[in-house]
Symmetry: C2
Subunit: 335 residues, 2 copies
């Protein structure tokens, strides 16, 4: 029911995903008067789905506490998360209110093992391909132990989703020299270096410029700076796109140039389309919840479903639990 | 002596600045064997300068403590800052090692009035024009009082440099809802709202996407997230430029398009050239120190000199001291 455009995008996205992924089924939670006509209009989705009417739909502007109060147990958001808990679903995908989705996911699924809190991990396009960055804002601030947990979980996601056997991990900092930065970040660096975990290759500190360069496969930071980095990059991309549009429409020569190079511009737009790397994941809970961008279109929502599918089929949850256990057993990692 | 290319850029930049700014004079600090031949090659700069040979030049890779130890009192960096203290110069401009420059500036110039620490403020191009952002990494973390001081100093810089009579101020946060974010940021917001200072218009929280949009004239944050935001934006801009180069050189049609639209691309490059908004300022000390980007070329260094000139002629230091005093007198601002 969530996202800027609501259920139509979700059902249309499900149809696109169905064409590419064989054998998947959907458990769909929402308001019957809205979703049932959409299912009638998309018979292939209807045939592959079980629909559950829910009395409550969480609004995009509700505060997490408010959403929990009136939406717990009975909202479509809650029930889609609960389906992961009961095993009815392998993974939940939602375009809804991020704060409410995280609050409900924590409340319903609880954190795994002895981890203190979950993180939001996102895909970030770089010159070299895709990277993973976390935490994008699940919580503010992090101690060294929490940063190390993020490194381990991000590494598991890079293995499951990007197919990198031993992903490189960088800690986001304000300088690459070992003397700089937050005490917690420095401590996390010392732990990761000493622990030398089997499934991740600790690279060292990285700076903001390294994210787009693809210096590492996984960028680890606490939620405040991670969220600022993500949104600043989005803002910069939009700003440059606006400059480009303005310049290409100014004067006849530029417009002719634009026509000749239209395929190049189409490719550029594709590279910058956030839909293609849609699907942030909540990691560190007893199940995976995938958050689609609120303004994703149907192909974007389909990408979120496909990413969720890959996470499940490549055993992300199991990898996270095993890797965390291994890291916590390590005498250094447990410090 | 600093910057990636050293003294040649500085002297060539000084020559460019001299052509545009009448009546300025330079006090130049550096190694005689390097600088004197450059001055001979640039007679107009030589005629407008006093040259002071210094025994020590701070290296770009020295740690601040190391630079202070062997460069205090006698390095070209120290002596250029000291010239501001003694009144021999109105402002110092350096392309040198940022950490060392900040350490020496703090040690030599000391903070003004009852301010706790300085900040690094930079110019940020937005869709609407130029904005100011601070702190870009002078210190990590900030309490509400320090954030309010940054708001006041950034406001003074926007008045002096951008000519905005009552600049709008935004506090960088991870959501615009009042419930979100760091406690210190929320408290700073309450103080700024209640104080309603005469020279700044408090806007509220802004997110990373708002920086490039130009939602506010001044974006305030603590140094860790400010540095991450700046470098992430730089990285994103370079990434998109690389995509664009790649796409425009792929295939004959795109190359023809590029030729037709070459002026548009030149304009875009100009808009994204960091040289044109070069010149971060150290604010909150008893004098202004301008930091030119280490990889600036001669026109970029000239921009830093021109910005420094504007800061001086428009009384930035006096505005900062007056505005801080006014803010600290306010019963709310002093809270």
């Amino acid at each position: 029911m969530g996202g800027d455009a609501g259920a139509p995008i979700v059902i249309a996205g499900a149809e696109l995903a169905l064409r590419r992924l064989s054998g998947i089924r959907f458990a769909i939670y929402g308001t019957d008067t809205i979703v049932e006509p959409l299912l009638d209009a998309h018979p292939t989705v209807k045939a592959a789905s079980t629909f559950h009417h829910c009395e409550v739909a969480v609004g995009m502007d509700e505060k997490p506490s408010q959403a929990l109060r009136h939406g717990r147990y009975r909202s479509s958001m809650w029930r889609s998360i609960e389906a992961v808990k009961t095993g009815e679903a392998s993974v939940a995908v939602s375009a809804g209110n991020t704060g409410a989705l995280m609050a409900m996911s924590r409340f319903c699924l609880k954190t795994v093992a002895d981890i203190e809190r979950p993180a939001i991990a996102g895909l970030w396009p770089s010159i070299k391909g895709l990277s993973i960055i976390l935490d994008l804002g699940a919580t503010i601030g992090a101690n060294s132990r929490q940063l190390v947990d993020c490194a381990v979980m991000g590494g598991a996601m890079a293995r499951a989703l990007l197919g990198i056997p031993r992903p490189s991990i960088g800690l986001l900092n304000i300088g690459v020299e070992e003397v700089k930065g937050l005490e917690e970040v420095k401590e996390a660096g010392r732990i990761l270096k000493a622990a030398d975990l089997p499934h991740i290759a600790y690279h060292g500190f990285v700076e903001g410029t390294d994210i787009g360069k693809g210096t590492v496969d996984v960028v680890v930071t606490e939620g405040f700076s991670g969220n600022i980095a993500l949104k600043t990059a989005e803002g910069t991309a939009r700003q440059i796109a606006a400059y480009l549009r303005e310049e290409m429409s100014r004067g006849l020569m530029s417009r002719i140039g634009y026509l000749f190079a239209s395929r190049a511009f189409a490719n550029l737009r594709k590279k910058l389309d956030p839909g293609q790397f849609n699907g942030g994941a909540f990691l560190g809970l007893s199940g995976i919840v995938v958050k689609s961008h609120g303004n994703a279109d149907a192909p974007g929502f389909a990408s979120a479903i496909e990413n969720a599918y890959k996470m499940v089929t490549n055993g992300l949850q199991q990898k996270i639990e095993e890797d965390l256990a291994q890291s916590h057993r390590s005498p250094v990692g447990a410090a």
